[in-house]
């Protein structure tokens, strides 16, 4: 009953429920990690013994390795494109005033409002007559449709956070508008731009549902392989595959966190 500063510490019941909540949130990831090192042949937990046999099987599986290469290449391409395409748009939204600026911002957020299942179906139906299903251009377009809005959003926040006076000062000193933007604002917004590129990479690398509609037998991504595998078989290989996906996503997050402070950049808005 003591009056302490700040919110009161939750009581025992509340903390018990919170602990249950955390257990529910974190147990699947912990269990996947454990099962991926299983020596057994089933998705049993606890595993009968530990081994790296399923990782060996994973890296020895040519289809999965091909899907990994596709996903890595696709995500890199999408990340680069999202940065190149999104940056001028983000600059316009953050810095310029022009008729329809609000409309542009809304348009560039709209695909995120659509369930990915509906967007995937729409892309399949629209791209099939154009012979773009199960092709690189089709997948790149589909992933960019999601990645560009994310990238624009983060970059708009990052650019808006750079004081506009710095750019005006550069202009006063004789820099052209383009030069002032490229040499003053851009370097200062760099951490945000890097976070945007990383998030675009992750959006593409983890994208499952839209890809399910657009892949083909000869062009498939890692999350689609994981989904298909989980649909049909349940041996610990699927857990090792899930860990591979998690590890790469985590590596990207940590890399950007070290370079630019991803969590800081994301939580700023």
């Amino acid at each position: 009953m003591s009056g302490q500063a700040g919110p009161r510490r939750p009581g025992p019941v509340m903390r018990l429920v919170a602990a249950a909540g955390y257990t529910l949130l974190l147990s699947p990831v912990v269990v996947v990690a454990a099962v991926s090192f299983s020596s057994g042949a089933f998705l049993s937990f606890p595993p009968p013994g530990l081994s790296t046999r399923w990782y060996a099987a994973l890296f020895g599986n040519p289809e999965i390795m091909a899907a990994l290469a596709t996903s890595a290449m696709l995500a890199s391409l999408v990340s680069m494109l999202a940065l190149l395409i999104g940056l001028p748009a983000a600059y316009a939204i953050a810095r310029l005033s022009f008729p329809g600026r609000r409309l542009l911002a809304d348009l560039l957020a709209a695909p995120l409002l659509l369930p990915t299942l509906v967007l995937g179906l729409a892309l399949l139906i629209a791209l099939q007559p154009l012979k773009l299903v199960a092709t690189w251009p089709g997948l790149v377009l589909a992933h960019c449709t999601l990645a560009v809005p994310f990238a624009v959003r983060i970059m708009t926040t990052a650019i808006a956070a750079v004081p506009p006076e710095l750019e005006s000062a550069a202009r006063t000193l004789g820099a052209s508008p383009l030069r002032a933007a490229l040499r003053v604002t851009l370097p200062l917004a760099a951490p945000g731009l890097m976070a945007a590129a990383a998030l675009a990479f992750l959006v593409s690398f983890d994208e499952t549902v839209i890809s399910l509609f657009l892949v083909g037998p000869r062009l498939t991504t890692l999350p689609v392989e994981l989904f298909r595998y989980a649909e049909n078989r349940t041996d610990p290989l699927v857990a090792a595959l899930a860990m591979l996906l998690i590890a790469i996503a985590l590596a990207v997050v940590l890399l950007v966190e070290r370079m630019a402070g991803l969590t800081r950049t994301l939580s700023r808005d």
Partner: protein, 273 residues
Amino acid sequence: MTGWLLAAPAVAVMALGFMLPVLVLARISLNRTDDLGAMQPDLGLATYDKLLSDPFTTELSISTLGLAAGSAALAVALALPVALTIRAAPPRWRGPLALAAVAPLLVSGTARVIGWLAILGDEGLINMLLGALGLPEQRLINNWTGVRIGLTESLMPYAVLVLLAGLGRLDPRLDEAAATLGAGRTRTFLRVTLPLAAPALAAAFALTLVLGISAFITPRLMGGGRVFVVATEIFDLALETVDWPAAAALAMLLLLALGALLALRSALPERGR
């Protein structure tokens, strides 16, 4: 005009990857499928008629809404204590605790489902524990139970995020005031915290409900092909039956329902949004 010029590449991506496909989707939903399963060009509502008069569509809609509402309610109920714990934690613990609660968002949904299969499956943790206690084995995957558990977990991080944002605006001194005035923990929670958190709870429920209605991966994989919701049906119609008009019409109905929910929510009066 420089603005639109700078944004032209991004607008082109939106036009090709979003606007055109959605228009084509709407257009295809007006076609119909003949008795042989071939698509016939048309400009009518025959496919909608067929869907809406089919009792299976009604059944799907009810079970989808029931699943989403139940999982969303449970996710919000579990997320509230998590959010309150984060808010009341010492400052240096707040970051890590919040990160742990939203970290699942960074992990692919399929990967988390695989974790659930290992926990809830026939060879999984729960059944191992039940076996050790001499209790009968339970079927917890490939049915609605599994889908409910998996969906609740996948919606929780979103609920935590919305609640953290909403609760952040509450004055912590109100808790203290209630305590000073002699209210116990339960009373403070029921009479002070809960009413103040109501708008945030409503926002969290609305978001998780919408996400739950359109969820696909969890119902598909945890349901093992035995659980049918609107999303799995759209997927099957598109890729297995290859009945595009029906898939498109059902997708349009889903969008309509989601739009109606959002409109309903913004029409409701609300404090503190």
